[in-house]
Amino acid sequence: MAAPRPYTLVAELTYKCPLKCLYCSNPLNYHEMRGELSTEEWCRAFTDAAKLGVVQLHLTGGEPVVRKDLPDLIRHARSCELYTNLITGGTLLDEEKLLLYKECGLDHVQLSIQDTDRRTAELIAGIRSYDKKLDIARLIKKVGFPLTLNVCLHRLNIDHVPALIAQAADLGAQRLELANTAYYGWALENRSALMPTRAQFEHLEPLVKEARARYEGTMEIISTKVDYYSDYPKPCMGGWGKTYMVIVPTGEVLPCHAAQVIPGLHFDTVRNLPLTNIWEHSQGLNAFRGYDWMQEPCRSCPMKTTDFGGCRCQAYLLAKDAAATDPVCSLSPQHGIIREAIAEAEQGNGSLIYRDRKNSERLSARSQEPVPR
């Protein structure tokens, strides 16, 4: 069976980043991943991605602006007709860079915002960044880019959603993503500090619904759920190796940001093989395509074509089995893991582990076995 047609390439250009956000989805052992792809290697990947049918390119990381060849990458992506989106923390940007990227054909910029409150925002990001981000948001608009603001929501900022919406509207964002933190990478390490209570999460829905109606046609508001509080799992990435591909800084092609945590999977790198070949034949990408790999209850479940049994990475991280039903599903025999995690979160304790080199080294030295949570 031919591989599905992908629509989106998430290009993690680097893991270097000046921010240390608590919720970062980069791997815990990011410091071990040396040897970023060259300009030529990325350009070849973009050409091949376009051949496969990809139409959306997200330039991200780490902080993609760190790459000095970013203008060349944008130019090449544009020549492949890819719609290019720069996903940035903004702190390394200035007007000159933005004008250059525009000239090269960048279509869109997505800027991360940690909170409307300066103290909390900088507590989350781990560095002074609040004022710079607001300046950059204004510059992004001044230079003429469509602007999406992305806010990762968690216990520390979820009560500020009305202010976040107002701020986004004020800044002229045409899109606001209220992305409830998903628990992978650094976010998982910080889960007991970050997970909102069920009450906090449920308070969100009517707020967002009202705001959506109010801003319809001017600002699109997207929100994603805390899947721990749902009865059924999210259709992760729209299916494994289906519509999304992620390429990490060293060139491995993954179905999502987190897949390298799953043992026993081999992901080829575009450094060694063409992307067109990898998308079709990679053992890692094929491991969970289709439905044959499923266990019960997923195997006979009528929802399997809707949610694909949830998230493989989450099944591995929480239930130690990547082929198991995602424990967030109320039908999972291991759903108790989620109930315990929620109870733990309700207590609200938890030290903050910042995404930096020192912590990356420390966490990598720890046992590779995931601790049952």
Partner: protein
């Protein structure tokens, strides 16, 4: 295309919108898709696969044509199709993409 509701018709048929000259937002790009051999509209985090008439409608969303102007142009080119049906198609499509913030003007 789906039938549009009464509410949607009202939205586009008041006096103000008779003079509306829609323009495709610069954040959206109309491009040919070689894989499915049809046009698509690409914009942040999404893409819309288009049928035969939608790209024709979008090409006329240049800030110069009114809705009636767009309908007239298409009715002239797609001979044998009822003008009212074309008008419903046009208003339905434009209402949907206007809701998603893809039209200016």
């Amino acid at each position: 295309m789906a039938q549009i509701s009464e509410h949607q018709m009202a939205e586009l048929s008041d006096d103000a919108s008779a003079s509306w000259r829609p323009r495709l937002s610069p954040k959206a790009r109309l491009r040919w898709d070689e894989v499915e051999k049809r046009f698509m509209l690409v914009f942040p985090e999404a893409a819309l696969m288009l049928n035969e008439t939608a790209p024709e409608i979008l090409k006329l969303c240049d800030g110069e044509h009114t809705i009636e102007g767009i309908v007239d142009d298409l009715a002239g080119r797609f001979v044998g199709i009822d003008r009212e049906a074309i008008k419903e198609d046009v208003t339905g499509f434009l209402t949907r993409i206007k809701r998603r913030g893809l039209l200016e003007g």
